[in-house]
Each structure stands twice: as C-alpha cells, then as structure tokens.
C-alpha cells in the first residue's frame, strides 16, 4: 500500500520519473509496444530529421563534428 509513494520518491530522486508496475500488476507489454510504435509515427520525427538510436546519433555526431541535441520524451503516457 505504501509502495507507490516510496517507489515514486525513489524514482523521482533517481531522476527516473518512472514508476514500475506494482507486484501483481504486470505491465501490458503489447499495449506499451503499440504506444511506442504510435509515437514513432509522429510527423515531427521525420520533419526534424530525428534519429532514434543513441549509438547511431553518437556515430553521426563524431563523423560530422556536431553536438547531439537530445529530446527525452515518453510513449507510455501522455
């Protein structure tokens, strides 16, 4: 019963802004994957030339001598 505040504070403190599923409430992985796919279809991604793989972004940045501009977003909730 007290896991939510404790875990939320833990993640808040760890800078993770994520909370895990509580025991007995396993995440619906297929639903999470569907939300991720939907997010990846957002028009702004192609428009802005966003790369979605960190290793690829680092390789490109090194090859072209550029900074990496990171946008941290999420798909599991609005």
């Amino acid at each position: 019963m007290y896991m939510i505040p404790r875990i939320a504070a833990g993640f808040l403190a760890a800078g993770l802004a994520l909370t895990p599923a509580l025991p007995g409430q396993e995440p619906d992985v297929e639903a999470l994957k569907a939300k991720l796919e939907h997010k990846l279809e957002s028009p702004f991604i192609e428009f802005g030339g966003w790369i979605t793989d960190f290793d690829v972004a680092k390789e490109k940045a090194k090859a072209e001598g550029k900074l990496i501009f990171v946008y941290f977003s999420r798909s599991y909730s609005p």
Partner: protein
C-alpha cells in the same frame, strides 16, 4: 506534445536541426528495450527534457524550449567545447573554468576529479570552495546512479548521504539536492528512524523552496513520515 506540435514542427526547426544531430529518446517501459531509462542516467527529473551532449554522449548543458533557446544553447555548448579543447591544449587560464563546468556536468567520478585537481598548479580559495561543492554533488550523483532502482542499494547510498550531511556536505544543485534528500529518507525509513525522517522532511522543505519536483518530493516524504 507542446514541443512536438510547436517548435519542433516550425519551419525554422530543420535549419537548426541540420547544425546538430537531433536524437529522440523515448521512454516506453517496454522491458529490456535499449536506452529506455537513459533520462535517469543523465540526472533528468521529468518529461520533456532537452539537452546538448558532446559527440561522446557526455552532457554539456540543458536546453530551453524555444527555437531561440535551441540556437543559443547550441552556440554556448559549442563555445564550451572550444574552451575544453583550449584547456586540453595547455591554455592555463581556461583550465579551471573548464574543470568547474565539467564537474557541474558530471564528466568525472570523484576520484577522477580529485586526480585532475591535484594536477593544477594554482587554485584560488573561491574556486576551491566551488570545487568542493561540486565534488559533493558528483559523489551524490554517483551514489544515486549506482543505486538506481534497487531499494537496498538506495538505502546504503542514503546512509552515506546521511554521513555527508553530518559533515555539512550538502549539494547546492536542485536536482542533486532532491536525490540527496530522497536517498536519506530511504535510509531513515529502513532504520525506522522517525527522528531522522522528520529532520529530512524539515530540511528538504526549507531547501527545495518552490521547485516543482522538490515540492513533489516533500509531499511524498511528509506522507511517508506520517505512515512510519
């Protein structure tokens, strides 16, 4: 969504994005997905977060949320990298300012930072004081990162933070301070130490002031104190 429908979709954005490598990291909670928890590794505390990294992926600075702030941030980040290159090439005047920034951005472990500090010929008292605060923050971030989501490790990290607090070693950076209080709270709760928890709540309340994440933490800690 405001960014995606706003500045990221404006006609000016492609001109900016061509001058950098725009990387979109999406936290999805899909198990075992690569880089899903990357925000936490960079000390982020919520979505959206924007940052400039160097080509090796080291954090330089956060960005604001408008086109003008993207461009200003890019130029400042680029200037910083040029200063780093000067310092690395032996420009003595550049070395301490660069070192302070690198510490602030979490480029070093505490051990690496102390080794680098030992190599400087002359450090002013003012700079030394600033460096000591940054070393405290480096240690706290390192503890939080190592502990991650593991509650037992967080409690151990909290014990160390409580020691640091006793030695008057307290972070000044807001995100770091929030991590610090939350870790000590985990430790206090594990010990069943209500007195310590009260002190944490009181001090957190005083130090986070009006910061949104800080106020959210204080609310959670107040509830946890009531539940003890």
């Amino acid at each position: 969504m405001a960014l995606e429908n706003g500045p990221f979709s404006s006609k000016d954005f492609p001109g900016f994005s061509e001058t950098v490598v725009p990387y979109l990291n999406i936290a999805s909670r899909v198990p075992e997905r690569k880089d899903d928890g990357l925000l936490g590794e960079y000390g982020g505390t919520g979505f959206p977060t924007l940052m400039f990294l160097d080509p090796d992926g080291r954090k330089i600075m956060r960005s604001g949320r408008s086109q003008a702030e993207f461009e200003k941030g890019r130029d400042e980040a680029q200037e910083f990298l040029e200063l780093v290159a000067k310092a690395d090439a032996g420009d003595v005047k550049a070395q301490i300012p660069v070192f302070l920034k690198q510490l602030e951005f979490g480029w070093f472990t505490v051990e690496e930072a102390r080794a680098k500090l030992a190599g400087f010929e002359k450090v002013s008292k003012k700079d030394l004081k600033a460096i000591e605060v940054l070393l405290v923050e480096t240690e706290v971030r390192g503890l939080a990162k190592q502990a991650g989501r593991d509650l037992d490790k967080r409690r151990e990290a909290g014990a160390r933070c409580a020691e640091m607090w006793g030695d008057k070693q307290v972070p000044e950076d807001m995100d770091c301070m929030i991590q610090f209080w939350a870790l000590i709270a985990d430790h206090a709760e594990a010990k069943g130490d209500k007195k310590l928890m009260k002190k944490v709540v009181k001090e957190a309340d005083k130090t986070v002031k009006k910061d949104t994440s800080g106020r959210a933490l204080v609310k959670i800690l107040e509830q946890r104190l009531k539940d003890m």
